[in-house]
Amino acid sequence: MTDDRFASTVTTTCGYCGVGCRLEAHARDDRIASITPALDGPANAGHTCLKGRFAHQFARKRDRLTTPLIREERGGVPRPASWEEALERVATELLRIRAQHGPDAIAGLASSRATNEDCYAMQRLMRAAIGTNNVDNCSRVCHSPTSYALRKSLGLSGATGSFADFDRADATILIGANPTEGHPVVGARIKQASLRGMRLVTIDPRRIELADYGVLHLAPRPGTNAAVMLGIAHVLARDGLVDRDFVQTRTEGFDALLELLPRYPPEAVEEIAGVPAADVERAAHVYGEARDACISWGLGVTEHKYGSEVVQLICDVALMCGKVGRPGSALLPLRGQNNVQGSSDMGALPDTYTAYRSVADEAVARSFEDAWGVPLSRAKGWTIPQMFDAAVAGELRAMYIVGEDVAQTDPNTAHVVHALESLDFLVVQEIFENETTRYADVILPAASFLEKAGTFTNAERRVQLVAPAIEPPGEAKTDFEIVKLVSHALGHELPWATPAEAMDEIAALTPDWAGVSHARLGRTGLQWPVAPDGTDAPILYEREFALPGGRARFAALPYKAPGDHADAEFPLILVTGRRLQHYNAGTMTRRTANVELVDRDVLEIHPDDAARLWIADGDVVSLRSRTGRIEIAAHVTDRIEAGHVFTTFHFPETRTNLLVGASSDVNTSCPEYKVVAVDVRPIGERASKTPALA
């Protein structure tokens, strides 16, 4: 269609959530004039949400970082600097610290909002230019348990199918996710499938919108997902809903699970999780009796002390029924950020190179040493929480953080700030000043997703092209350019002129990405693994699993109590999450007209609890946990179960994460954001102050 309202239109991939909507970005006068959905986007099929479509004004806000900044003294006001001076300062400080304390005194964070090529460049910088495996990304605090569990149970760290499987499934279990808010386009897709007759079972402490479209809603107490999945497995085994043939020919370890299951009859699950026994039975039958069925989950499963074990139990349920590896039967984790799948795929993790190959694997490490021409460490690096602990302990001296506002989004804010203040040197690469840049010695101005080229990998393992629609403002540069300049200043050349050339190196060094190239990705992308001839993999495990012997592994894991619990002093359980109108730390969405729709975080509380505590809708309340205290306005709603409260972390003045303690997933140290015992009481006045930090 001809449209003279716009000077240019490029097709790109949305930079908000992990759905991976393909967008047409229309520009005029070097501004985004409008964004519309690409009709041929595989994940969005001509649809978007209000973030992807409308929340683009942040790109030209006046407070964008447009020049490097240097802060000469802690707490001082940073001054503008030239790129030459800023890069010189970064290189001098990092090289000084490395000389004095060794390479492992430096750590880097790649960004799950950045491209695959940015993340690959960042991990190469940390490994080759600095010489440490201290590199991580924010999947640590969201879906690292999913990655761990899928690798343990099935072999590969990714969804086994595609969103299109929802369209073909007869039933779906959705657990610990609220996709109509967090992943709106997939939420709409699940809703449409339900309206067409897919039998949807929702499992969440909140009565999420999709519960109204399902056949059954289970509201377990936070932290008891394991008991619910074990109860479902119990009923599947008891009532003859096991696919014996599949279990026998394609899996191992089922007997150990069978031995465990007698401990979890529906009545026992009702006792632990507060879910009626009959509902557990019905959920099992809806899933087990369907010809094809999916299980989908989000951070309500992973952000727990035993989150990774629950994902393994989800895999158990699917394997018992043989519902994996064919159209309409898939395991579909709803990955959080636009490139949280890709940043981990790219090896921006302290223990793996690309495609989750161990840094201790001699052959793999040698292949990277040969390509990069430097010796590489075989020792695992620190995870994000370990980095903060190490900083406080004085073992970590410098950090280079790309695009992550750890001071707002990571748990235990006071500890994070203490860690940042303990560093000798902090470089932050960002598009806006934020809570974390307050502690930075050097701030490097980066480009947003609308201003750069590369690829994002969505929650379907689909690698899709990102194309610049407008120029970065002022002197801001793309993350790819900046990481290359920093690496050059540190004495290690990153030899690629363009992100496409970086992708060629990734493909050459990563068998599962062998056939990926920018030219091949085209308009609809490719789902890894991609064979050298370009054949991709919409469905994994059609014939065998990616584990030794080709067999999937059952995990026999008992229910264990969460890391926090309600008691006399802290009688309610706080769950934190997101809202439709804002995205995580809100760095982008708070700078758009989305704030006209939602302008603050509120605390959802059940009418019964509110009445008992003398709290009226709109009252400011004190919210106190074992770790911290904040003040926030209450919103009385029966979307939340009695005994629980819910809030978001979109607005920095709320400081929600002051409340979240150090408890984390036993296997991956993903924080337990979803179970925080709190005390709520009215304070009868407006919030008096933003809480001071350590």
Binding site: G46, H47, T48, C49, K61, Y213, L580, Q581, A593, L597
Partner: protein, 237 residues
């Protein structure tokens, strides 16, 4: 597979495909107005009529299943005459010509429909709803094609839009006609994306108003909250 001849060109389409699918597969243009490939066929506007061998009158391409051996003529004189008449009648109800980028304007141009010959009553502009930061409603441009209602139902699943009124007064309402802001609308924009006339449009694209609008002042000043340009930096928050 089903074999269909479109203007003499043989094409194969999958079972369940429509005559419109076949015409598009053959690379032939069929005008449409109430059709959006993202939605189930609706068949309300009759702009997509084509001639069919053996049929005594034109058939709607978007709702007619393609059957084996069918021969259709996309340039059938009767079909085209009806399509032009429909588009001209639709245009005659609007207080101003639709902007050139809109689907209605483009279909009219390609069909050779110019200034409507019927100068009767046109839709009167309505007072604006409570302003929404992104979505603007200009009810007087609504042609009741139902695409926005179906986008909200079939693509998004929010059911915030409803068809209202009858005949000349047929229109669309958000919620109980209190506007987007007070309705269940989640601002996904699917309605604006499918609207063929700009009756539902992005606020930022109205300001400054497109030059093609003849009477922009009274419409856009209320809908976009005069003096403010929401999509431009510093405009809000």
């Amino acid at each position: 597979m089903t074999r269909v001849a479109v203007d003499g060109v043989e094409v194969e389409v999958a079972p369940g495909a429509t005559v419109l699918d076949a015409a598009r597969a053959a690379g032939r243009w069929v005008p449409t107005l109430c059709f959006d490939a993202r939605q189930d066929p609706f068949g309300a506007c009759r702009v997509c009529l084509v001639g069919a061998a053996g049929a005594d009158r034109p058939i709607p391409a978007c709702t007619t299943p393609a059957r084996d051996g069918l021969a259709v003529d996309t340039t059938d004189a009767t079909a085209r005459r009806v399509a032009r008449a429909v588009v001209e009648l639709v245009l005659s109800e609007l207080p101003q010509a639709p902007a050139p980028h809109t689907e209605l304007a483009q279909v009219a141009e390609r069909l050779g429909v110019g200034e409507p010959r019927w100068p009767g009553e046109t839709h009167a502009p309505r007072p604006a709803d409570t302003p929404h930061p992104y979505l603007a409603f200009r009810h007087e441009l609504c042609i009741s094609c139902g695409r926005c209602v179906r986008a909200c139902d079939e693509l998004q699943g929010t059911f915030a839009l409803t068809a209202t009124g009858r005949g000349f007064h047929a229109n669309v309402a958000a919620g109980l006609d209190q506007g987007f802001r007070e309705s269940a609308c989640v601002a996904c924009g699917a309605c604006a994306d499918t609207c063929p006339t700009g009756a539902i449009d992005e606020v930022s694209l109205l300001s400054p108003p497109p030059a093609a609008l003849e009477r922009p002042a009274e419409v856009s000043s209320s809908d976009t909250r005069a003096g403010r340009s929401p999509a431009i930096d510093g405009g809000s928050g």
